[in-house]
Amino acid sequence: MSSWCIFIVALLLILSPISLLKSPLLNRFFSLLAVVIGATMVVSLGMRLAPGDPVHYVLGDQALEASKDSLAKELRLRDLSGKELSFVEQYSSFIKGLLRNDLKSFVSGKNTFSAAWEKLPYTVALALGAMLVALVFGTLFGIFAAAFFHRWPDHLLSIFALIGISLPSFFLAPLLLIFFSLTLKLLPISGAEDGILSLILPSLSLGIALAAMLARLIRASLLEVLSEDYIRTALAKGLRPRDIVIKHALRNALVPIVTIFGLQCGTVLCGTVITEKIFNWPGLGLLLLDSIYRFDMPQVQTCVLLIAIMYAFINTLLDFFYGLIDPRINMGKLQ
């Protein structure tokens, strides 16, 4: 119990400077640290509470007690006297391993960072592909629907958007595969052997729901901005409708959209697990899934750590992007 108290106090001490920091950059850095520590801690706790034993997974049913005990010590699950390590001790062992870069997988015995690092480019590529799909289609359809407000293109795009939001990726993905890979034979069925061609379907499958949601948001946001006085003024001045929408209306409508987009990045990163499985895309999601099945806690912690860093990084980047799209929002001044 006392170790728990020390742990919580130490955590508070680490995180307390956040509220005191004047510099937005440092503030963001500590927020990022908090997200990463929080995520890995919750996952570690979850893995510890879940039934299952990595020792049993490695040695099997018929293993002798002496071998089990010896392996548990080797994996730092028990101390030298054979006593099970507490959560805090296990978590601090994870942090130490991380800092020394000698965190080993329970199952393969390999460095967990190297294993995750090999898969990371695939997940990043998939996430970027999905976001690109979402941005391109979401923005185009959103503007188009707003421009044709209450006319047939608007109704048609609204129906498409609803379908896109409602279709889960595990249902949409096989449909895309059947149409593009089996019927048209345009794109590869699975894997990553065909480079950029292999990325198209997984990105579409993951990005369509986000695109549909963005389209709805952009439409609603644009319609609100388009009814503002300054838009009417611009129209009265004789500006071209295209310039009004893109230069004046869209820019002002973007702030809430960027917020939602940042939050949805988390969904995209988590969604890669299902998409990677269906398209056999060799990313971090599948490594995470396999590691969970094998009770490979260090590998799970490392994967979650990387996903949390990516999520926090994207959101930090978007925070600074606010200042670009609306100069009135300035991180430093807000502080």
């Binding site: 071998s67 010896s70 044709f148 890979s181 699975s190």
Partner: protein, 533 residues
């Protein structure tokens, strides 16, 4: 106006993409190698750590074993030339002459001794160490002869040796696998979970003709699409019966059905009431009921297993009368599965003193636990429905395998629907039904249902010590007959092994009934021309 332009741009992009497609179609099936899909990851290519089905299958092609299992499940020499039993505890094995590892170093008896001795290293943490615990010593007499000394007679000794590849005494942890099998590792791309094997030209049977690529495809639907789209040539992994019907319509695919070696069963906890149970308690009543042989017989007769095989498995399974597969040499064909007779069940429950009572007019409550697999879950609901009809208030509880396994080890379940992986030797009875295998004090055991029968223990021990095949068969028949009457397990079925192969590319591939990819070493060069749709 600009709206119309935007619309036209989108339309143009669509037309361009479609037109481009006709000239850059993806062509599958013209590869110069055989592509095989795996459903679970290969964790290690060292036979001592290859625990998953995929790891064992691929490792067996790289590392040859002393013996292998033939299609009739008998043990036949592989790297070994002959075996001589000097007595019950001593076996002399002679190796074939001129065997070589992939690095061209000779394979000798010293390597065989090293392979099995290395398992005794307490820091190795091999999954297979307990399996070979009964081996006392392995001694190389000369380059070709090796002596195995056992601690106690063990009838499945030669079978245990089959499938366990011989490693080189010079092998080092983390180095490239250096086996002596028909294929050698060309490339293992861990980034995309792909293993490429090339023929080992000095293989004693003559080198295979093709390179083989093993690719991990976890999703069943994707495996299905790869087979239909001719990306994959061979699939020996789980495909559900419903999907098999779809594959049967594809002319370029051949579906091979082989007798299943797995065993699906209902385990009934026969431990009886606990000392700390309250007598009036429902749980006490259930435990007491399940410990009664008549109740277990009533349960077995109440469920129409043939109908489940027909409707749920679409005929891709065979009724079981016990743990031994129907195609096994030790199987006694005179032992028939139990019949569906719900009228007998009602009578048996009445005889057991369990009368229908209460507002629901039920005899007692019971819980059937199952893993979340769709087919197992559906089957569990059918069992529960059938038991309701004879007055047993059965309900289904779905649990993740790990959680369920923990309950089974603790003996805190009532009825569990589960499955044993391929049963190659009936010695598994020792692990499953011997009273020594009841888990206790944190020590694992396969007799999770707590079955104790001194006669069965004696017969299992005797069968383990008996080397004569005929006598072993007689003993196992006796065991199976007792167990079919006592029913600690209700035997359900053996799911058939299904292999799907591209008929055009691999017309002569012969699938092995043991689940190995031995057929790949004998196959002629693959057809490199793509089948026209």
């Amino acid at each position: 106006m600009w709206h119309a332009k935007l619309f036209m741009m989108l339309l143009g992009a669509g037309i361009f993409f479609g037109a481009c497609g006709s000239s850059c179609r993806i062509t599958e099936g013209d590869k110069p190698y055989i592509r095989v899909v795996l459903s679970n990851p290969v964790e290690s290519l060292d036979p001592r750590f290859a625990t998953s089905a995929s790891s064992s299958q691929v490792t067996a092609l790289i590392f040859a074993a002393l013996f292998e299992i033939s299609d009739d499940l008998s043990v036949v020499p592989y790297l070994a030339e002959k075996v001589e039993a000097l007595n019950d505890l001593t076996f002399k094995i002679r190796l074939r002459k001129g065997l070589r590892f992939h690095d061209q170093t000779p394979l000798t008896a010293i390597d065989v001794a090293y392979t099995f001795s290395s398992l005794k290293n307490s820091k190795l943490f091999s999954y297979y160490a307990p399996k070979f615990d009964y081996i006392d010593e392995v001694k190389a007499i000369n380059d070709l002869d090796v002596i195995f000394l056992l601690k106690r007679p063990h009838a499945s000794f030669l079978l245990d040796l089959s499938g366990f590849g011989i490693i080189s005494k010079n092998s080092q942890e983390g180095s490239n696998p250096n086996g002596s099998g028909p294929f050698r590792l060309k490339h293992w791309n861990k980034q995309i979970d792909e293993i490429k094997l090339e023929p080992f030209l000095d293989w004693f049977e003559g080198g295979p003709k093709n390179e083989v690529v093993f690719s991990l495809v976890r999703d069943e639907n994707t495996r299905l699409l790869e087979l239909i789209g001719q990306k994959t040539d061979l699939c020996d992994s789980e495909i559900s019966p419903q999907n098999l019907l779809k594959l049967k319509k594809e002319k370029h695919l051949k579906i091979v059905e082989l007798p299943g070696l797995g065993f699906t069963y209902l385990a009934i906890n026969v431990r009886g009431p606990r000392a700390d149970d309250r007598v009036a308690n429902e749980v006490h009543k259930t435990r007491k009921a399940l410990a009664n042989k008549k109740v277990r017989q009533a349960i077995a007769h109440a469920i129409d297993f043939d109908k489940i095989i027909d409707r749920l498995y679409l005929g891709f399974a065979d009724r079981a009368s016990g743990l031994i597969p129907n195609s096994h040499w030790a199987k006694d064909e005179n032992i028939k599965p139990l019949i569906f007779a719900p009228h007998l069940s009602e009578g048996l429950l009445d005889e057991a003193g369990l009368k229908r009572e209460g507002p629901k007019n039920m005899r007692f409550k019971v819980e059937i636990a199952s893993i979340p697999s769709a087919i197992r879950k559906n089957a569990a609901h059918i069992y529960a429905d059938s038991l309701q009809k004879i007055g047993i208030d059965a309900r289904v509880r779905i649990k993740d395998w790990t959680a369920l396994y923990r309950e089974m080890q603790q003996g805190s379940f009532e009825i569990v629907s589960s499955h044993w992986i391929p049963v190659l030797d009936p010695d598994l009875y020792h692990w499953v039904h011997h009273s020594d295998s009841i888990p206790k004090d944190g020590i694992s055991g396969g007799n999770r249902h707590g079955y104790k029968n001194s006669l069965v223990d004696e017969l299992i021990d005797k069968a383990r010590r008996t080397l004569d095949k005929g006598e072993r068969k007689r003993l196992y028949s006796e065991i199976e007959a007792i167990l079919l009457a006592e029913l600690p397990y209700v035997p359900l079925w053996h799911e058939r092994r299904i292999i799907v192969q591209n008929l055009h590319r691999l017309p002569n591939y012969v699938a092995s009934s043991t689940g190995s990819y031995a057929g790949l070493r004998k196959i002629a060069a693959v057809n490199k021309v793509r089948l026209k749709p």
